[in-house]
């Protein structure tokens, strides 16, 4: 235990148990060794580590040892520190292996680009003593959008008419936000349902986690567009509608009309032609979804193209 840490913590957080005070880290390279009670020094400020962040995927808690939930001692604010972890891994998407990279520089650059933009998580980057680009993030006080939607105890028709218009209005803003990144030659890189959060109080949607990157030459934003389509599908369907649960969602008769062309181009069991299941979907909205189906002949190349079709749907589903 470091005396320096104990004194620092005692000064700013007198209730924190002295016996749990750990070491002082100015170099965050050995992030696996940094844990509860340790203090990280960045830009002259001290961050008491409370825990490693976890990601819940497929019902499992997956610890992210390079992401630390911290208490900033001088200001008392809660912060998330993302330490440098150069990861290079294949992402499996519908049978394709896409080589992805984790880039702290990319995330730092985007944080700078979106500073003050409420459509994105906020934070700064700072170099530690070893030159690692650490991202110091504000905690988004909110909930994952998909959890918000899944927890609504409404049948689909009621959801679609009463709740979805408000969701679509905000989702359009979130799509525009991704367009802003693309216009600045940046990609989000990991557009998934759990990376769009609804802020408590304001209800604002915020994108989080920008450190993934991948290399697509002809279609640099293809994976982002795929992610936007997936989220839209989830929001329209009030959850993932698959071949397996289509009958539960819309009845056996409607589900029997699903053909291979109605399924996702990339994720084979996901129903994209939701208009066949929910007859009250405006045709224009369903046509947007069909751009992501196995039967599609034309794809969206850009957020602008997606917005041009999706924007007018807001009037068709009813104003929120």
């Amino acid at each position: 235990m470091s005396e320096e840490v104990r004194n620092l913590v005692h000064k700013h957080m007198p209730d924190f148990p002295a016996s749990r005070c750990g070491r002082l880290f100015t170099d965050t390279t050995p992030f696996m060794d940094i844990s509860y009670g340790d203090v990280i020094v960045l830009g002259g400020l001290h961050y008491l580590v409370l825990r490693d962040e976890q990601e819940r995927r497929f019902g499992m808690e997956d610890p992210k040892f390079w992401v630390k939930r911290c208490h900033q001692l001088e200001t008392g604010e809660r912060k998330i520190l993302k330490l440098v972890f150069y990861e290079n891994f294949p992402m499996n998407i519908g049978g394709f292996k896409i080589q992805c990279y984790r880039s702290p520089h990319k995330e730092a650059r985007i944080l700078n680009l979106v500073k003050g933009d409420e459509r994105f998580m906020q934070g700064i980057s700072a170099k530690d003593a070893a030159g690692n680009v650490v991202r110091v993030l504000d905690v988004v006080l909110g909930k994952r959008l998909d959890s918000v939607v899944e927890e609504l105890e409404l049948d689909h028709r009621t959801y679609f008419h009463e709740v979805f218009p408000g969701i679509l209005a905000k989702y359009l803003e979130a799509v525009e936000a991704i367009g802003f990144l693309h216009a600045n030659w940046e990609k989000h890189g990991d557009i998934r349902r759990d990376h769009l959060w609804v802020e408590y109080g304001t209800g604002r949607y915020r994108w989080i986690d920008f450190d993934y990157t991948f290399e697509f030459q002809e279609n640099p934003f293809g994976l982002d567009l795929f992610g936007l389509g997936n989220i839209l599908l989830f929001l329209v369907g009030k959850g993932s509608v698959t071949l397996q649960n289509a009958a539960d969602e819309a009845g056996i008769e409607a589900a029997a009309r699903i053909t291979p062309a109605d399924l996702s181009l990339i994720i084979g069991n996901r129903v994209v032609n939701l208009g066949k299941l929910f007859s009250y979907l405006p045709e224009e909205l369903n046509r947007v979804l069909l751009h992501f189906s196995a039967g599609a002949e034309v794809f969206y190349d850009s957020v602008d193209e997606l917005m041009a079709d999706l924007g007018p749907c807001l009037d068709l589903v009813g104003k929120p």
């Binding site: 697509f216 293809g222 795929f226």
Partner: protein, 162 residues
């Protein structure tokens, strides 16, 4: 547009070499053709390298590899009967290159549209491109230069070599 002025899209892949061979076969024994090999630079992504030095080193290697491939492609064309004066090459530098800045450069938004811009600017009446033969799903995710060229080309003939 002059149909005898042929722009051959080249990316150093096997498919593009096949397109070069085909273009050479079709034009090499005739008079009056001019073939220009065009490579639109796609640099390795900066974010995939820990620092600028490593990235720049890879960019230099990349350029050297492509220039060597362009020289081989030129050899393929002359071996099929085109004289050296009838073959040109253009290396369209990326606007984001860390190695140099040039007045004409590739913005990096779409290779297909860059090729068609060069075709229009140069008055090429024919564009030749190799085709990978991608599935619909691959085209959706990764894009297809040849498909985009087929859809977007105006006022020229497109030869697609499979």
């Amino acid at each position: 547009m002059d149909w005898n002025k042929v722009l051959v899209a080249f990316d150093a892949s096997e498919n593009s070499f096949r397109a070069v061979e085909y273009a050479g076969e079709m034009t090499g024994r005739s008079k009056g053709f001019y073939l220009e090999l065009v490579y639109v630079e796609r640099l390795p992504d900066r974010d995939m390298y820990p620092d600028d030095a490593a990235w720049k080193a890879r960019c230099r290697e990349h350029e050297a590899e492509v220039r060597a491939a362009l020289a081989r492609a030129r050899g393929v064309l002359t071996a099929r009967g085109l004289d050296a004066g009838s073959v040109g090459e253009r290396y369209e530098v990326s606007c984001r290159s860390p190695l140099r800045q040039e007045q004409s450069c590739s913005l990096g938004t779409s290779i297909a549209h860059e090729i068609l811009r060069i075709q229009q600017e140069g008055g090429f009446g024919t564009v030749v491109i190799g085709r990978r033969g991608v599935s619909k799903a691959e085209e959706f995710l990764f894009g297809s230069v040849s498909n985009k060229i087929i859809h977007a080309a105006k006022g020229c003939t497109v030869w697609v070599v499979s």
